[in-house]
């Protein structure tokens, strides 16, 4: 169990929703640069199903798509989710939102990370079945990669400074 997780979400056949999938692919090729404390996972999951991936992690960065409608497609948004009060609504006809899932984990005494950050690209099209992303979203890939690299550098520093790496074996 590596303490730092970059969790890329999405759907590789749904236009811009493939963003997380592409980011995970690019990160996979530079794994040695990210350090041995970092794990990269691509998952086409939501809510409840993410809990077992988050369990026992120290810090998590979720890479995903979002449509806020208030920004140009390709804009990167950063949400430090650790600061959010869990939404009490359910997202899916069959899933619950991540904040609700985390609140649930807390109730169930499942150990989840204190810090979950979200990096989401403003998507243009997440409804058309296609293996191609739209141009502005595709153009945002390098920025996302740079951001993830920065996030892992800070994460690695924090882990080494709080001695978490030494305690890792006991907690994993």
């Amino acid at each position: 169990m590596r303490p730092l997780l970059v969790l890329c979400l999405g759907n590789e056949v749904l236009s811009d929703d493939a963003f997380g999938f592409r980011v995970a692919g690019m990160l996979g090729e530079m794994e040695y640069e990210l350090g041995k404390e970092v794990e990269v996972i691509y998952a086409s999951l939501a809510g409840f199903n993410l809990l077992n991936l988050l369990e026992g992690r120290k810090k998590v960065l979720i890479v995903d798509t979002i449509i806020t409608g208030s920004a140009e497609p390709g804009t990167m948004h950063f949400f430090p989710m650790g600061k959010l009060i869990p939404s009490r609504n359910l997202t899916g006809s069959h899933e619950i939102s991540l904040p609700t899932a985390l609140k649930l984990a807390q109730l169930m005494e499942i150990e989840t990370p204190e810090d979950i950050d979200v990096l989401a690209v403003e998507a243009q099209d997440v409804q058309t079945l296609s293996e191609e992303m739209t141009e502005p979203v595709k153009a945002a890939l390098p920025e996302a990669i740079a951001y993830v690299k920065g996030w892992t550098i800070i994460g690695n520093q924090e882990i080494s400074s709080d001695g978490y790496g030494e305690k890792k074996s006991a907690s994993s």
Partner: protein, 493 residues
Amino acid sequence: MKQILIDPITRLEGHGKIHLFVNDDGSLANAYFQVPELRGFEKFCVGRPVEEMCRITTRICGVCPDAHHMAAAKAADAVYGVTIPSAARKLRELMYNAFYAGDHTTHFYALGGPDFVCGPDAPPAERNILGVIAKVGIDAGKKVIAQRARGQRVIEIIGGKKVHPVTSLPGGMSKRITKEEQQEMIKIGEEMVEFAKFTIKVLNDVVLANKAYVDLILSDTFAHKTYNMGLVDANKKVNFYDGMVRVTGPDGSEHAKYAPKDYLSYVAEHVEPYSYLKYPFLKKVGWKGFVDGKDSGVYKASPLSRLNVSDGMTTPQAQAEYERFYETLTGDRSGKTPVHATLATHWARVVELVFACEATLMQAKDEEITSDHILDPPTGIVGEGVGIVEAPRGTLTHHYKTDNNGIITEANLIVGTTNNNAAISMSIKKAAEGLIKKGQEITDGILNRIEMAFRAYDPCFGCATHSLPGQMPMELIVHDAEGGDIIQTRRRN
């Protein structure tokens, strides 16, 4: 025209719109539910090998990938004209029942349950799984989490991956099961059956012991006397994976029983000019609009429908629950008299949950599932195939045509929720009637009533978008029935 948008609706995936058309006197002229559909699916399939569909279709719907995996596998078997080995069929069916055991659990506790456990008038902020756990206890919450994990583990063992199985292919299965894996699944099955018993107790204590809830379930507000559709086995018992499609009328008499390949002789799709949604109906009865009764081709396909078209369940505890269900709601434990109360769908789902858990245990014990003979590779090609399974939300149809190399030339899908489009619109209309008054603000209370009407169907938008941190928007739009102008829109967070 008057148009109200509800935005967003809780516990729904993707984003949809509810349109209400209101006459000048304030009465409701029409109501319909509009969901976004994945555009371009047929085009996306064309030119791909049919065996790829088992994997790709798990991506078109983030809600029930396992159902698509199965329907696609069965359609691909038919395209190649292969009958899969008995062990392969047993593995698929076991995996599918385990999927149901997890899926129905989620719905009962996280999605449908809150209306009952927390109460239909509880504020939305309290009507969710956290509210359920506050009421039934942390221990119940832990049981639910564990039950979901069990279903996923069986899918992982047989399907090769959690959530998105990959092992079904034309002619059978690609992965054998070891004796150790079988033992693990037997243990999981035993735990599932215990969980099913626990769920029956929750249903009894929290829902059925409360007369107000039983009255609500049986109230006319939430009833529609339509046809019902579902798969049945050779003895007319409920089967999720395979069988004949049986359709019964509002009085319970048989309208049709047909093999999946003949579906186009029985089902047609009606199109309304104001919506891109299609409304499937029974061809031999005809489309008579959004109305109940024997002369209207509207049908429902849901857990309640499956119970209504069947003569019972093939496992003991589920059969006992089936009898209790009909005894309580119709006074006839045989199930010959159909139940039309939409909200009874939640109870029907629990009966099916019990069956799925018992069936998982029973099938896990079958010695044949560790057989090496799990694949008979295709040797010829038919070039066309239909696969039908029961998805949790209703009858799911995959229909492919291919060239002689198995490359898709045409695809058609009727997904679970689509079957219920007309019935959902009717339920919304019925719930909204008398609540929507001209010039009056739409309140949260009204929205809750309308939401409850369609939440019973557990509608799913085949839409795998993630939304953070809240949800995708849902809008309620009130139109003026004369000119179509928007009078009011409602958005809610």
